[in-house]
């Protein structure tokens, strides 16, 4: 376990270091003065000078890199170019919205996709299986930004069932939840398809295993056989998929947050890129990467918890 954690932490640090390096090189590889690039062509000379000093632009590049890492480790991701507020604070204000969106999106996809895949596998060829099959392909094929736009037009504009934009009044849980429904629906939809397919495939494989036949030969109740035995094994590859899916989901939030005008990391990065607000881009990408690494680590731990063979090899 200790060995495993050491290895994982080392690996995570390496990934984050690499991401910072890439972000840094991007800034420095673009020809021209980094401060001008970072602040945009309309920045005043004073602003540029201030920025250059703040970012230690007079130091050699490798020192700048180390300084940035050192600051990042203490939670200092620099200052927003325009408002001069700490990047960390700006990100913290928005990260909750993105997390809520991703969790809600993945959550409903899991609640629907896993049982669907499971039931489809138990009765292959049944109407439920066929419907699931068609549904999976359909939902996977449609890009999530299209789903966002349609959902917005249908449920918010036409039917007026749900609010169209924003994240709801702060402090009012009901309002915030109702604002969450459409974007979560939009980013989770294709995951219903992915998960149903994945679970179906691995369930089909596991249902053919000898130990499932043993469980049935011992007269266990079908429910116990399907959910207590088969799903317990079949879920393992799905957990890995979900963990990695979080990464993809963070990128789909960009569209959802723009279309639904929700505050969040995705929109933040988008706006910052458009405005060439590099400290924000760097900080937000870094945080998103960190989150992703955490989720993958968590999914690996979950697998170890489900599978004693994995647990012992840690």
């Amino acid at each position: 376990m200790l060995y495993y954690l050491t290895k994982r932490l080392g690996l995570s640090a390496a990934v984050i270091g690499l991401v910072v390096l890439v972000l840094f090189s991007l800034l420095h590889l673009i020809p021209g003065d980094p401060a001008t690039i970072a602040l945009g062509p309309r920045a005043t000379p004073e602003a540029i000078a201030r920025y250059a000093e703040k970012m230690h632009l007079d130091e050699p590049v490798w020192r700048q890199f180390l300084i940035y890492i050192g600051n990042a480790l203490t939670g200092d991701l620099g200052l927003d170019v325009f408002s001069n507020r700490p990047v960390t604070a700006i990100i913290m204000e928005r990260i909750g919205f993105t997390l809520a969106l991703v969790c809600a999106g993945m959550g409903w996809a899991m609640l629907l996709g896993i049982p669907l895949g499971c039931l489809a596998a138990v009765k292959p060829g049944s109407w439920l299986d066929r419907v699931t099959g068609v549904l999976s392909v359909g939902t996977i094929a449609v890009p999530s930004f299209l789903v966002s736009i349609w959902a917005l037009l249908i449920f918010a504009v036409q039917l007026r069932w749900l609010p169209a934009i924003g994240a709801g009044e702060p402090g009012q849980l009901g309002d915030q939840l109702s604002h969450l429904v459409l974007p979560a629906f939009a980013i989770g939809l294709s995951w219903v398809g992915y998960l149903a397919r994945m679970v179906r495939a691995s369930m089909l494989e596991v249902m053919g295993e000898n130990y499932i036949r043993s469980a049935r030969a011992f007269g266990l109740h079908p429910q116990r056989v399907i959910f207590g035995y088969a799903l317990r094994v079949a879920i393992l590859p799905t957990i890995t998929l979900i963990g990695m899916g979080f990464g993809g989901m963070i990128s789909s939030t960009v569209f959802a947050e723009i279309i639904f005008a929700r505050p969040g990391i995705g929109k933040l990065i988008f706006d910052a890129v458009m405005a060439r607000n590099f400290p924000i881009v760097q900080g937000a990408v870094l945080v998103a990467t960190g989150l992703y690494i955490l989720v993958v680590l968590f999914s690996d731990i979950l697998i170890a918890w489900f599978d004693p063979r994995v647990r012992e090899s840690l």
């Binding site: 130990y211 036949r213 049935r216 030969a217 011992f218 007269g219 266990l220 116990r224 599978d307």
Partner: protein, 687 residues
């Protein structure tokens, strides 16, 4: 209320006119064809037959757990007056695991890896809601103890992968017996196990059957196991019951030509080491075809013209024995059939006794001396973090062995004894830490691949699982000429070579365009031989060349290998745990235990007078296909220790009945006796 008054009261399960089809793309496989037999209470009944004869299908049919493409087309299975074939799913579920339970063939795959034995066993007891969980656990612990699991109250919380193969099968038996079923079904319960473990499981089943007053049905293709364990025997062939009777009648006075042939093919029964093994020619018939006449006629040595178009009668002998053959009754009755047991009724495939190959002893082909192979078990970082001091295990320890041209050396030992590693090291596939491997006098140990490559042509390996190791998308023609391509040999006509090789291994030319899944076990094995011999090697290393083959086919492969050896002067290293087989084909035997060779000598001498206690245990561990020669006790208990905790003294000390203090303190050195036999034991038997 009994459905049929003629049913004897001692009948627990009555199978009547059962027919099962499997729907497949090739057509309907008629896997069971109108079979009927009763199972008597408190008996151990063996169902024996070649693979594909429908043995497992019988078991699954009576549990109602046939594959989805199966269809029961007729019959009934009466279990205490209930017809299991027409019971509802809920009724069946109440019967399964509770009144009828199962021990499975492969304990490695039939127990769920992610649940502890405690959970699995508690699940089996779910039909007793009144029983407190603690009580269920107590019952499970008690049953695990009863089947011989040490420390059951601790081990119950472990997972299947913590158990060795033998322990898993014991746990499997405990799970099956937990509810106190009346009927226990066991499908090939020892096939996946080593000889010594097999003997232990046979005895365990026997003891438990007596103790629990259960009725047991054992399915097996192993005649020795059936003879040793069973009271009644049912012989199946191609989906039919062709003979049934008490075990002595079957083994001493078999009536059906097929039963006779099976018995004659079993190498364990043949004392004369003539080296040519008898075989039943041909293959099991295509089960999609309807039978006309006797289903065994295409392979029967005694077939009469009438056999091909008229169904043979079921001829009853005693109250429950019968055999289905024209020779036994009716107009074609032959009073001289069956002949006495020592008269052979089947041939040896090819005419004549095996020509002994010329063995050139003084000029060995392969000479291995003091070879050591270590495997790293943990990485350096992990070892440091976990405080593990020894990072290596010795998979092969001080092994010396030589093989002369034309000679066959058998390498024998339980699984995990390092046999395969030794074979792979000789082929330079595994690096060795020290010692030497000489091939035709040249040192090849750890030779760089570029220099070794030309020599690879002279040394071939035949793999354990020929179908699994063959690429499924290549035709037989492509497969057997693949070695030419691997070695970049040009200037030959591949089609000619393919035909030459097919002829050499007696594979009809039509098979060249088939694919691996269209081959029977024996045919696939012949493709394996052809591939191995494609480049005219001088040494062939065969890893379990007959594992998984039926006795009737096994002989064919071994005879073929013997002929090829006589013709080409090949040296063979046969890696196996099947003692009856090596006894017939090997000139010398090396017995391996935990990476060391503990005894080595001429095969006949080793079998006649084993010197090392382990050898003796192995030799005595083979179940004899004769119900009058049942063993009263298990010759060896316990199991092979893990390489990770190799005992300090003699590796075998923990299981050896003769172990003394010296054995536990000091590793016995290799000693060569006057007659050239070698052993590693402080107290050799008979000395």
């Amino acid at each position: 209320m009994p459905k049929d008054a003629t049913r004897a009261p001692e009948t627990l399960l009555d199978i009547r006119n059962l027919s099962v089809d499997f729907r497949t793309p090739r057509g309907r496989v008629k896997a069971l064809r109108d079979i009927s037999f009763p199972i008597r209470r408190n008996r151990i009944v063996g169902i024996v037959g070649e693979s594909g004869s429908g043995k497992s299908t019988v078991l699954w049919a009576l549990l109602g757990l046939l594959a989805k493409n199966a269809e029961v087309t007729s019959g009934e299975v009466l279990f205490e007056d209930r017809d299991l074939l027409h019971a509802s799913e809920a009724q069946l579920r109440a019967t399964r695991g509770e009144e009828i339970s199962v021990v499975f063939q492969d304990p490695m795959t039939s127990q769920i890896p992610v649940l502890t034995y405690g959970t699995q066993m508690r699940d089996i007891l779910y039909r007793r809601p009144g029983l407190p969980t603690a009580e269920k656990r107590r019952m499970a612990v008690e049953m695990l103890g009863k089947v011989g699991i040490p420390d059951p109250d601790k081990r119950i919380d472990q997972y299947p992968h913590h158990f060795s193969g033998g322990m898993r099968q014991r746990a499997g038996i405990a799970m099956a017996l937990l509810t106190g079923p009346q009927l226990l079904l066991a499908d090939e319960p020892t096939t996946a196990l080593d000889v010594t473990m097999e003997a232990q499981i046979i005895h365990l089943l026997q003891d438990l059957q007596k103790e629990l007053d259960a009725t047991v049905v054992v399915v097996s293709h192993n005649l020795g196991l059936i003879a040793e364990l069973c009271d009644d025997v049912v012989v199946m062939y191609a989906g039919e019951v062709i003979e049934a009777g008490e075990v002595r009648e079957i083994f001493h006075n078999a009536q059906h030509p097929y039963t006779r042939a099976l018995l004659e093919c079993d190498p364990a029964r043949i004392d004369d080491v003539s080296r040519k093994l008898p075989v039943i020619p041909g293959d099991i018939p295509d089960l999609t075809k309807a039978r006309s006449g006797c289903i065994y006629a295409p392979r029967c040595q005694r077939a009469l013209p009438v056999c091909r178009d008229t169904f043979p009668p079921d001829v009853a002998r005693g109250e429950m024995s019968l055999a289905r053959c024209h020779l036994l009754a009716g107009p074609h009755h032959d009073p001289s059939w069956p002949p006495p047991l020592d008269v052979m009724t089947v041939g040896t495939g090819e005419a004549g006794a095996r020509k002994p190959a010329r063995v050139k002893r003084d000029d060995p082909l392969l000479d291995v001396s003091d070879l050591n192979v270590q495997f790293e078990t943990v990485g350096p970082l992990r070892a440091r973090l976990k405080g593990i001091r020894t990072r290596h295990v010795d998979a092969v320890l001080d092994v010396s062995l030589s093989i002369a041209p034309g000679e066959t050396v058998g390498l024998v030992g339980e699984s995990g004894s390092g046999k395969t590693t030794l074979g792979r090291t000789v082929l330079n596939l595994v690096p060795a830490q020290s010692g030497s491997v000489r091939f035709e006098g040249q040192e090849i140990r750890n030779m760089p691949e570029a220099r070794f490559k030309p020599m690879r042509r002279d040394m071939a390996m035949m793999f354990q699982d020929p179908v699994g190791s063959l690429s499924p998308r290549k035709s037989v023609r492509a497969l057997i000429t693949e070695p030419f391509q691997i070695h970049g040999i040009t200037g030959i006509d591949l089609d000619d070579e393919a035909e030459r090789l097919a002829e050499m291994v007696r594979l009809p030319k039509a098979f060249l365009s088939r694919y691996p899944h269209e081959l029977s076990g024996g045919q696939a094995r012949r493709v394996g031989v052809a591939r191995a011999l494609a480049l005219n090697p001088k040494l062939l290393i065969a890893d379990e060349p007959t594992a998984g083959l039926d006795v009737s086919v096994q002989g064919e492969i071994l005879n073929l290998m013997a002929d090829l050896q006589a013709e080409h002067g090949l040296g063979y290293l046969i890696i196996t745990h099947n003692l009856p087989v090596v006894r017939h084909i090997a000139d010398r035997l090396a017995i391996m235990y935990l990476g060391r060779i503990v005894e080595e000598g001429r095969t006949d001498e080793v079998f006649a007078r084993p010197v090392h206690p382990y050898t003796q245990a192995l030799v005595e561990g083979v179940p004899q296909p004769d119900p009058d020669r049942r063993r009263a006790h298990v010759s060896i208990s316990g199991e092979v220790p893990s390489l990770l905790n190799r005992p300090k003294g003699c590796d075998f000390a923990g299981r050896c009945p003769f172990a003394q203090d010296l054995c536990r303190a000091q590793k016995p050195p290799h000693v060569t006796m006057a007659d050239g036999r070698q052993h590693a034991c402080h107290f050799p038997l008979g000395h």
